[in-house]
């Protein structure tokens, strides 16, 4: 078969045909070269990018080389042939990656797993230092799993709503997608965010100190819609949400919250939820601590009292100095952090830097963020990127000229209720050092004269 028949002009443009022909030619040469090799285990065994280049065929992209080098490319990227001058040869063919897309091979941000003893019950943190704007890419959204990530077939997954309702209901994922939907942009923050930082600065980067918060657009059915369909009885006060993972994770939620802005979400950032974010269904409780946003949601049980599950009694409770512990600290209070410059960075020399970071509040909008470059002695109001949305990351920015002298960078958020983000000293004075969760204190980054940025308590 000639290449003309194989790649007819009706279906292949000139450049595409040229590339396709090139690929056939490379394959032929490679097979020729490896004829004697007994250890061949694949069609392109032994083919390297160098081999492709030495083959002398100019191809704009190399799916072959890309596949070969995938293990070396950062996760989510394919290592493509880099053209010496991209204006002098065609780029790689469209849909080379299969039609889903991949990030640049030159970008390498990844989630980082906190080294818990168990791999099943662990968490990974968002690389906030390189984050831009207010959204978190789905693949970088922080994770917290108590029993691994289940792979669930959406065709067999169901949600049952029962308890103190007039009519218990059962929904397939298809059912839920037929109901009126909403899309909302909200942060989720694990209440354990920063738990290493109470007593002394421990982790070095903003990913380690603050990476358990992320923002996505979430789409789904309002929980109030489902509750109204079922008919909530007058005695109802709480609702249990339960996941279909091996932890069969459960949390109790006040019915008022369920009726207010809770979402039974099946989509994140314009596509189906990622498996690690609860595919095919999760609960979204805007502003509430992350653990309550039950993933892999399978059951909702309406009751008159909280269920006092393991996660809301033995965990996610804040132990106070007097030995009592606080239950149901559900709303995440206003918090902010400077993401640039931040820990373990090194400023190359004195000069202009835009100080930037994120602020958020579980009680509504961020109304103001102030930045200090002198450890809290003086404050300047930062600019907020719009739109400023309730219960959502808000990006702030402040121009800064670093003179090359020692500096301590801090940010302080104020939300629409007038609540001011506290200092660590203020928090510790009330709560002591044993409460583990809900640390929302002002973060300090020390900039040394040599430009080294470190995590400090100031």
């Amino acid at each position: 078969m000639s290449d003309k028949e194989r790649f007819p002009a009706t279906r292949y443009g000139l450049a595409e045909r040229h590339m396709a022909e090139s690929l056939v030619e490379i394959e032929r040469r490679t097979l020729e070269e490896n004829k004697e090799c007994e250890c061949r285990d694949g069609m392109f065994n032994g083919l390297t990018r160098r081999g492709v280049l030495m083959g002398g065929v100019a191809i704009g992209s190399s799916a072959l080389a890309g596949r070969r080098a995938m293990a070396e490319a950062p996760p989510g990227a394919i290592e493509y042939y880099v053209q010496p001058d991209p204006t002098k040869e065609q780029g790689r063919v469209i849909l080379d990656d299969g039609g889903y897309g991949s990030r640049s091979q030159f970008e390498n941000e990844v989630r980082w797993r906190y080294p818990t003893a168990s791999l099943d019950s662990s968490w990974s943190m968002t690389p906030l230092a390189s984050g831009q704007g207010m959204l978190t890419p789905s693949g970088l959204h922080f994770e917290r799993h108590h029993a691994g990530i289940p792979a669930i077939d959406p065709r067999t997954h169901e949600l049952i709503l029962h308890g103190m309702v007039d009519q218990p209901l059962r929904f397939t994922i298809d059912d839920l997608k037929r109901l009126p939907a909403v899309s909302k942009i909200h942060f989720i923050e694990c209440s354990g965010n920063g738990l290493t930082e109470w007593a002394k600065p421990t982790l070095k980067t903003v990913q380690g100190t603050h990476g358990l918060t992320s923002t996505s657009e979430w789409t789904g059915v309002r929980l109030s819609t489902l509750l109204e369909m079922a008919g909530v009885q007058d005695t109802a006060a709480w609702i249990l949400a339960e996941g279909a993972d091996a932890a069969v994770m459960t949390r109790s939620v006040p019915i008022d919250k369920a009726m207010d802005d809770a979402i039974v979400a099946y989509a994140q950032n314009g596509e189906a939820l990622r498996p690690e974010q609860g595919y095919p269904l999760r609960l979204l409780l805007p502003g509430y601590e992350g653990n309550t946003h039950i993933k892999w949601l399978r059951r909702l049980d309406v009751s008159d009292r909280p269920f006092m599950t393991r996660e809301e009694t033995s965990k996610y409770t804040d132990l106070m100095p007097d030995g009592t512990a606080r239950l149901f600290s559900l709303e995440m209070e206003a918090k902010s952090v400077i993401t640039f410059p931040s820990g373990a960075m090194k400023l190359p020399r004195a000069g202009f830097y835009e100080v930037t970071g994120i602020a958020w509040s579980g009680r509504g909008n961020i109304s103001k963020v102030e930045v200090s470059v002198d450890g809290g002695a003086t404050w300047q109001e930062a600019a907020l990127d719009g739109p400023v949305l309730p219960k959502c990351h808000t990006r702030f920015r402040l121009p800064w000229v670093w003179t090359g002298e020692e500096a301590v960078l801090q940010s302080r958020a104020v939300d629409e209720t007038g609540y001011v983000q506290p200092t660590l000293e203020q928090l510790v004075e009330v709560r002591g050092l044993k409460s583990v969760y809900h640390l929302n204190a002002i973060q300090s980054w020390h900039v040394a004269p040599d430009g080294e940025v470190t995590n400090v308590h100031a």
């Binding site: 990530i149 059962r170 006092m308 239950l327 600290s329």
Partner: protein, 221 residues
């Protein structure tokens, strides 16, 4: 130590990996089909309501002809939660002696025969720690911290053991509860000390009065 290592290996074996077990059976979506003539990708199928009959549709009154009633059997099959007042506790019983045998066979590899936990497995200490919560080194265990016995039953039943979550029978969970709470000095430690639905709901935990509701904002102007 051997059994402990065995547990780690078993736990690793239990981790879900690529779909080896389901070879031959398709467990992933196929690419969207292409349409005739234009060759475009077909859009996803329109979601179909599971409702057998659409009935009266009145969106303004929350009637959409979508979903279906959940039957008592369907609810009972997954309704496993247990509340502090004993609601949800299933029929059954178990003794301290039965629990001891079960604990040694199923739980001890991770939590230790002494119930002190094994930190490298992430398995927490279960007993001890009473009176430490206000100290500089609080030890939070079932005995010292958990406010309700129902929570222990509920969690053990739904999520333990780690290598086979949800595999314990109701009687086994009562027995293990009797043994652990007995060792904690909360319920009896005679071999025939027994727990069932009625007695479980009556168990008073040492730290039942140790919790307060969220007083925040407690800091911040």
């Amino acid at each position: 130590m051997f059994t402990r290592n065995l547990t780690i290996i078993c736990a690793m074996g239990a981790l879900a990996g690529p779909a080896l077990a389901q070879e031959g059976e398709r467990t992933a979506a196929a690419l969207p089909e292409t349409l005739e003539e234009t060759g475009e990708r077909a859009p996803a199928a329109v979601p179909q309501s599971s409702a057998e009959s659409v009935g009266d549709i009145a969106p303004a009154d929350n009637a959409y002809g979508v979903g279906q009633p959940a039957t008592e059997e369907e609810i009972a099959a997954i309704d496993i939660d247990v509340m502090p007042d004993g609601r949800g506790l299933l029929e059954g019983s178990g003794t301290y002696a039965e629990g001891e045998e079960l604990y040694e066979a199923i739980c001890a590899a991770c939590h230790g025969s002494d119930m002190m936990g094994v930190s490298e497995l992430g398995a927490p200490q279960l007993i001890g720690g009473r009176g430490t919560l206000a100290s500089d080194n609080p030890v939070k265990t079932v005995e010292s911290y958990w406010p309700y016995a129902s929570t222990f039953f509920d969690y053990t039943h739904r999520a333990m053991p780690m290598t086979a979550p949800g595999s314990l029978t109701t009687d086994e969970v009562y027995a293990i509860s009797a043994y652990v709470l007995g060792r904690a000095g909360i319920t009896g430690s005679e071999p025939d000390a027994m727990l069932d639905a009625a007695s479980m709901a009556e168990v008073e935990m040492p730290n039942s009065d140790g919790f307060v509701s969220d007083p925040r904002p407690d800091v911040g102007e």
